[in-house]
Amino acid sequence: MRDRVILGLLLLGAILLPFGAQAAGFPATTGIATQIACLAIAAASLNLLIGHAGLVSFGHAAYFGLGAYVVGILWEHFRLGEPLLGFIPGTNQLLITLPLAMIVAGLAAAAIGALSLRTSGVQFIMITLAFAQMVFFLFVGLKQYGGDDGLVVRRRNLVPGLDLRDAMQMYWLCLGLLVAWLFVLARIVGSRFGRVLEGIRQNERRMAAIGVSTYAYKLVAFILSGVGCGLAGALMANYLRFVSPEMMSWQRSGELMVMVILGGVGTLFGPVLGAAGLVGLEYALGGITEHWQFFLGPILLGVVLYARGGLMGLLGYGRGGGRGHG
């Protein structure tokens, strides 16, 4: 009960954040919080794969970037008035770009996952990284969409009922989708499917022995996490009004993984804390020195070696700890 109250208060605080930020004289905080929400959606999706299925994918930024580029490419064709590939019209309608981003990311995840999941362990990590690089290089080479320099999306997408040019409304959209996505992930984790994933993470040999063909479940988890990253990328593209191949770089993949472990692997809110933590560190340390990553390295090392449960663990909500499950 107490947990629910805390959760409710935090949600209320999150909703009221833009007002507080304005009143306190830091309106830019709303923008930072928007970024955190987008990244949290991606991190939470990756957490399903890493934390619950035990599959360490080092290439999920590819799906994040793909989602972003769906928005960018559709915008570009909308702006130019020319259809993509001759028959797909451009658009700046969010209700089209968002689902499309998720579908494209999902299809890519299906293709890459189908191949990558034929391996396991270290090979799997290396292969997911390599495939993400492939996607990265593909977009670097697409000069008509900006290539290495990226693509400017001059206006945010249109949504009936909201004006996304308003920073507050953009934030609330991302916050709302984050909450909705977390809810969906929570249901998935608690469902029969989620139980199988946990089983695969803890003892895949045992799962085979009880008759579970693990490949199919791993692939579905891979696709679901890709879809989530695609959603996050599309939102981020709208927020930044800019897309670039950097969004699919291996560094970005690494950052997503850092968020997952910083917040606490395998917990529901860990990814949110992790995203907030990493972005927070970037702003806090980045303000002191441009070489802030010099300190991030050892911090990360420290978390991995000494604080495995991440921030959720420190707060007493680590996996298997305060919040046990049957």
């Binding site: 249901r187 499917f193 008759g211 579970v212 479940y217 298997g320 049957g326």
Partner: protein, 259 residues
């Protein structure tokens, strides 16, 4: 080898024909044939290194044979995956227990029940609340004698004996057509061994069992038939009395492993 069919003999549930497995220069399984019949408890004994583990691996599908085939319920399963064989009713327990240590006892069994119920592509309903999974899990745990007090315990915290019993419950969750038990008594104390023996005795006759064991008391108390494995070959197969009297067996095995 193995008892040939005669009038009134029950159909074999499992038939291994001429299995061969080599690892480099080592012949782990040497033209081995074996049958398990409906209703029987067939024990497999042999000194360490005899190839019992390899045989289990071949039967379950973890290892592919270099020659020979395996028939389960009349069908050739030699090419099937581990999971496919398990779904047909070939359940096994592991010598070194393979459990989900982070989950509770009940959750472990419930997951096995769930796996048996069909595919698990259900994404919405909380599995922890499903009576269709929890009730059978409880019944199974009661059947193997794991007390209710331990049902919500984290499996990593269970004692060794409890883990072995849980391992059996999980195998039973699949309503198996054949139970492959790999040293279920390993590491158990005297009282626990007796309890396990009684549990197995209760299962005897209802489910065909292939029991790999070192515990001779249990083997001779439970087995309808015993096959003795040495260096990958079956050197003898017959009733417990026949095996006890067989001089080749005595020399190769029972003398080493004091009775």
């Amino acid at each position: 080898m193995g008892a040939a069919g005669g009038g009134g003999m029950a159909d074999p549930v499992l038939v291994a024909e001429g299995l061969v497995k080599r690892f480099g220069g080592l012949v782990a399984t040497d033209n081995l044939s074996l049958e398990v019949h409906t209703g029987e408890l067939h024990a497999l004994i042999g000194p360490n290194g005899a190839g019992k583990t390899t045989l289990i691996g071949l039967l379950t599908g973890e290892i592919r044979p270099d020659a020979g085939r395996i028939l389960f319920l009349g069908a050739d399963v030699s090419r099937l995956s581990i999971a496919a064989r398990a779904r047909r009713g070939l359940a096994r327990s592991f010598q070194i227990v393979q459990l989900l240590d982070d989950d509770t006892t009940l959750a472990n069994v419930a997951l096995a029940v769930q796996a048996h119920a069909g595919h698990s592509f259900r994404f919405w309903r909380p599995a922890a609340d499903e009576a269709a999974l929890i009730e059978p899990a409880r019944a199974l745990l009661a059947q193997v004698g794991l007390g209710e007090a331990r049902w919500d315990t984290r499996v990593g915290d269970l004692s060794h004996g409890e883990r072995k019993v849980l391992e059996l419950a999980i195998a039973l969750a699949a309503a198996p057509r054949l139970l492959l038990l790999d040293e279920p008594m390993a590491g158990l104390g005297a009282a626990e061994s007796l309890a396990m023996t009684e549990t197995l005795r209760a299962l005897k006759g209802r489910i065909p069992i292939l029991l790999v064991e070192h515990d001779m008391e249990a083997v001779f108390a439970l087995a309808d038939r015993i096959t003795v494995l040495v260096y990958g070959r079956a050197i003898a197969s017959g009733s417990p009395a026949e095996i006890r009297a067989d001089p080749a067996v005595q020399e190769a095995y029972l003398a080493e492993e004091h009775g």
